[in-house]
Every structure is written in C-alpha cells, then in structure tokens.
Symmetry: C2
Subunit: 340 residues, 2 copies
C-alpha cells in the first residue's frame, strides 16, 4: 500500500511495485560536495537501481542544522527503505567530513580496506536507518594529502583483479582535484593531489587567457597534445610561465583562438603529469614504466590516456564502475551484507 | 588667459600660473591597460609635475572609436600643452599595442635602446600634438614572450649606472604578469613572463583555497617564507600540487586561516623563482650568483627580495623611478629633447 501511495503522490520513484526493493541487499551512497548518488544492490553485488540528485553536502535541500542530511537521505532512499526498512546503508565521500553528516576521522596511510572498515562511523537517520560512513584517508607530512570518496573507488578498482596483493600499482583519478595514488600490497601507500581541473577553470574564466579563447565545437586533440608536449619539454620553468604562451602564441598568430582552450588544457594536464613523474622519480619509479588505472569521466580519462602516452606511459586504461564496486566491497568486508 | 579660464572652469590643474609648464621640456606618458601616468620634465630631466588617471587603454573616458585616446590625452596633458603647445610628447606601454592608439610593432630581442628609438611610431592627436610611441619587445621562439612598457623601465634602470656596457644583468619586474629580463651589453637579450600576480588572485578568489582564508591585518612574513621554502624544496611536483597544501595544512591544524594568504603568496612566488632558477640554469647562470634589480611597487619588491634570499640570492635591490628615467632616456636618445 505504501508504494502505491507514493506512486499516487508523484514522489520520484524509479522502481516499480516493490519487486526491485524486495530483492535488494544493500543501499550505498556516493555522497560528495555537489551530488548524491544512491545505489541499490542485490545480494550478488549487482546494481539494480540508481538515484542521482544534486543534494551534495554543500547543496542540501534545507540547511544541515534543520535536518538537511535527513531530508536529502529520505529523498534519495526513502522509497527503497519504505519497501525494505532493514536494508543496510553504507555511505562514502564528503558526507564523512567535518562539514558532513557525521565526521569519520581520516585513516592514515598506508591504508588498507580493513583499516577503512575499522574506521567506519555510524549515524542514525531520523527515519531510524543506520548509515555506516566510510572514513577518508590522510597522508601526513610536510605537504599533507587527504581524500574522501576516492579511497572507496580505489578499492573498487583493485577489486577488479584478485592477484595483486604483492604488487605496486598506480591509480589516477582526474578531475577538479586530480589524485594519483600509489597502491602497494592492496594498501594506499601514498598519493598526490593536483588542483588541475579547478586551476584550469580559474585560468579560463578569471585571467587574461580566457579573453582571446573560443571554445571549439569538438575537442582539438592536436592542440591538446601540443600543450602536453610544451609542458613536458619546458616543464621546469613552471605553469606560471608556460600558461602565458597561450596568449603570446595567439598574439604571434601561432595558435588560433579555438585552439587555445585545448592547448591550455594540455599545458595544465602536462604539468600535472610532469609533477607526478618527478614525484615518482624521487622514489625510483618511472612513470613510463607504469600501466595506471584511470577512474573518472570517460572523455577526461581518454585525454589523460593520450597525455600519458606523450610521457611514454602506454598502458593506461579506464576502470568502469569503480565507485559501485568499491562500495560493495567495503560493505561486504564490513559485514553489512553477505554476498550470495 | 587660457590658463585662467581653465582655472575658472575647475578643470583639473596641478600647476600654478604656468610657471611650471614654462620651464618644461618634455611630456612623457606611461600609458598602460588600466592607468595613464603623465610626467612633465624640465630640461635637466627632472620631473616637475605628474598627473595620474585611470584612463588606461581598456578604460578610456569614451570609446576609442569616438576619440577616446584624444579625450584621455587632453584630460591628462591639455593644461600643459595649452601653456607650451610645442612640447614634445613620448608615450610607452599598451598605448602602442594592437588595441592602443597606434600600433608600434614589437622590436625583437636582442633589443637595444637604439632599436626601440628606431621603432618609434608617431600619432597625431586631434589637438595637433605629435605623440611618439615606444614599441614593445618580442622574444620569438616556441614560447614567445612580449612586453610593452617594461622595456622603457628596463632602460631607465640601466641608465642608473653608466658602466655596464659589457655586463650581463638580471632585472625583475614583479606584478600581475611578472617579468624577468636578462640584459647583455645594454640589450634586452631574453626574458620570461610568469602570471604570478594574476594566478594568485584567481586562486584566492575563484578556488577552494580562498574559502578558508582570512586576510591578516599585516602581512605575515613567516608564513610567506614558509610558502617560498616549500616551493623551493618541493618545487618539482609543481604549483598544482603544492597549492593544495594551503588547504590540507589548514585541515590538519598546521596553518591558521590568517596565515593562508601569505603562505599561498609565498608558494606562488617561490614557484616563479624556482622556474626562473631552472631557466637560468639551462644557460649556466646561477640565480644565487645574481644581484637582480627589482622594479615595481616597493612592498612587493621587498617580498621578492626576501624570497630571493631564500634561493641564496642576496644582492637584490629596488630601483626607484625606473619608468621616469626610462622615458627621459629614450626621449633624449630619440632627439625629442636636448638635455641641459
């Protein structure tokens, strides 16, 4: 009856008559700053329904102190929980930060999936459901690094193959704050954050470089790779210097207005990879010898694959559904769900 | 009579009864993107009056196609020219760019003062005055560099001493687009542009780093030098990575909110100097062995002097009135004025 009532009131429902919720075994949330993705898993670990909203922790439907987290949670998962109130719930991402629903203190590197599970913090929703929140990871040091959400994706990507307990591998997560993570023996050993996406956006929108740019209808791969190679070859002078060439190459008729956005994108990503290469080299790891997994939007990961190729790194490849796999894996390891 | 009329109408006049204009020998303009500075020189090369306005070439009182340059020029210099209509006029800066009053094509490096004089382009004002416009300098290459206005300041700084015809020297011009210029035998041999000031402003105002910052009442030199040293020691990983430490050091209670602006300023300037050091090293020049002249706002130059000290470069020193000296020197060399 409840399901039919919800249908009648027009609440956002993407499951039918409860059949989906009846076979569900887990609700898992990827709850970041600007979005909330809710996944419904069956007992085999298959995603059987997904709900996406813009109710990130900085964009709640009502303020946090007025129950914003509960409101967003109900909006995303209320339908499922009304059908199956005892479903376990796991959440990862900024929801566990100081500005989140409950603070799940960082686990320090080297961080294993077991350590993440041990660091889970629980919060009771107004509806009665208990939400288990995955902690982020902190690498202490002179330049500390933090992640929230990526740790779950990383363990999702690692879960793909089963034979890497002794291996060292490199995982890249392009985006606003790109992360590069060194995994040793299935533990997050260390990682680097590059403000690549955010700095690129700021350069385009809030510096002189944006004034002469025209955004092309389709991405200009040649201009992108030109920028990557300039960063690779002239990298030592730094992004503050090479970025200005976007303008001077335009002034001297060597770079068209509609080539400038992709050229600058190539420069910024190229400097990221040059910095990564240098950081790895300090530990005697050659970027060119790595076959990094990439996690993120497919088109962006493809850009990174091309840019990595310019650095002699040929084996980069995209991992799909790392978030879903990671949430499932941590839920299983935490005993929230018993896989069928 | 004319002068008294202008007094009567309240036009902006900062000379008295014409005595100043009567002893004047040259009008020289530093005409940039956002400001116009007009200097009145006597025949000994002394500045006897100055007028400053916000009528930069992107901020003219009326649009350029409606006589905006004439209007700004009259507003700045009309009083002087009404007293002494035959005064020669020299202008340097963005006024000679493609968006300026008249385009004075770039002189290529290596560029001497003679080459700048030979590249002067003249424009006739509506009032009848002829304005001689100094060209900018272009360094061609894979990463071209351009300057307009700085070339005049550089020759003003060089003019300070008379014994450097055979020397190599380094001149820094901090600011929105900081320039570092290598002068060989009184010629601008090559130079680098770093978007330091503009990128710092964009990072503070348009990225996550600004959200946790509080600007202190007085600059925090210790936080600034901490940032410089992080950039110097960890520079190879690049600004995209080190910048994020402004946030993570805050998150881990190692950097207070009111330390963050100066720390980030130190990082950005430190990366500029690390890039400069690397660029000089490729030509076997050690930054630490240089005693650079600095041209610019005094407080900013003092920051650079401190930052250079962290790079082992102890002899940096401020050059005052480089713009005025450079305008005078070029005017003399161009035969616009005969020094007394």
């Amino acid at each position: 009856m409840k399901a039919r009532e919800k249908h009648a009131t027009g609440a956002a429902i993407d499951v039918g008559d409860g059949a989906v919720a009846r076979e569900a075994a887990l609700i898992a949330l990827d709850w970041g700053t600007t979005s909330l993705r809710a996944y419904l898993f069956d007992a085999a670990g298959k995603v059987i329904a997904t709900r996406v909203s813009t109710a990130g922790i900085m964009n709640l439907p009502v303020p946090a102190e007025e129950g914003g987290f509960d409101a967003a949670f109900d909006e995303a998962c209320g339908v499922w929980l009304s059908e199956a109130p005892s479903l376990p719930v796991l959440a990862a991402g900024m929801v566990g930060s100081a500005q989140g629903w409950v603070q799940a203190p960082y686990v320090e590197t080297p961080a294993s999936a077991q350590a993440l599970v041990a660091g889970i913090v629980r919060v009771r929703a107004a509806s009665g459901a208990e939400v288990a929140v995955v902690p982020g990871v902190l690498e202490p040091g002179a330049l500390p690094n933090v992640m929230r959400g990526e740790e779950t994706q990383i363990f999702g990507a690692l879960g793909e193959s089963g034979d890497e307990a002794q291996q060292t591998s490199l995982i890249g997560l392009p985006g606003t704050h790109a992360k590069w993570v060194v995994v040793e023996g299935e533990r997050i050993a260390r990682f680097y954050t590059f403000m690549t996406g955010e700095v690129y956006a700021a350069l385009c929108a809030h510096t002189i470089l944006g004034r002469t740019m025209k955004h092309p209808a389709t991405p200009d791969t040649a201009a992108f790779l030109r920028g990557v190679n300039v960063a690779r070859e002239q990298g030592c002078v730094g992004l503050l210097a090479t970025a200005f060439s976007t303008r001077t190459l335009g002034l001297t008729a060597q770079l068209a207005a509609d080539e400038q956005p992709d050229y600058l994108s190539g420069l910024v990503i190229g400097h990221e990879l040059a910095g990564l290469e240098a950081a790895l080299a300090r530990r005697d790891v050659a970027l060119a010898g790595c076959a990094p997994r990439l996690i993120g939007a497919e088109a962006l990961c493809e850009r990174y694959r091309l840019a990595l190729g310019a650095f002699g790194c040929a084996g980069a490849h995209l991992v799909r559904q790392a978030t879903e796999h990671g949430l499932w894996r941590i839920a299983v390891q935490a005993g929230l769900v018993a896989p069928r």
